[in-house]
Amino acid sequence: EDQVTQSPEALRLQEGESSSLNCSYTVSGLRGLFWYRQDPGKGPEFLFTLYSAGEEKEKERLKATLTKKESFLHITAPKPEDSATYLCAVHPGGGTSYGKLTFGQGTILTVHP
């Protein structure tokens, strides 16, 4: 069974204090790993897709990396507007599973000014 575990459950940072969020996964034949941001009362908003170990992607203060067992979302010099819940999801291998995502429980990030 596919499993995704995110840590920590909650993270509080001061503005400018860099840190990382972790997403560990167990999946048969990973085809893609997705990072989403979710604001209160809103649906998840897509951030990144990573397809293979060693791949990295960046967007503003965020950088996502992928290994064979886990992914990290690095946040450099965060601002209060980066406060949100960050969700990790995996897309398993197998043609019948196309389009079905398994999500972690999320990390709630709070950045204090």
Binding site: V4, F46, Y98, G99
Partner: protein, 117 residues
Amino acid sequence: NAGVTQTPKFHILKTGQSMTLQCAQDMNHGYMSWYRQDPGMGLRLIYYSAAAGTTDKEVPNGYNVSRLNTEDFPLRLVSAAPSQTSVYLCASSDPEKRRAKVPTEAFFGQGTRLTVV
């Protein structure tokens, strides 16, 4: 471009009542899904459709769906129970990269917060 639209945003339902949550997308996406989101548990897949006319159930009973066309994917709660209190999220994704077996990102609606009392 509206993306994925869900209605209603909030609703309170009595135990045993039935209700349909609406989901529509205007991106001509083939794949549509329903997830429920509960505190501390992330998103869990409930129902999935790869194309109009096809559906795939992921969790047992209590829910039903139809996919009569590409745009709409309504979720029906047949006889609501308090355990179905949750935030329901609808998503769609574009299958165009399927031939290369490259999954594409899912686009989500804003969700329906449902309380069953």
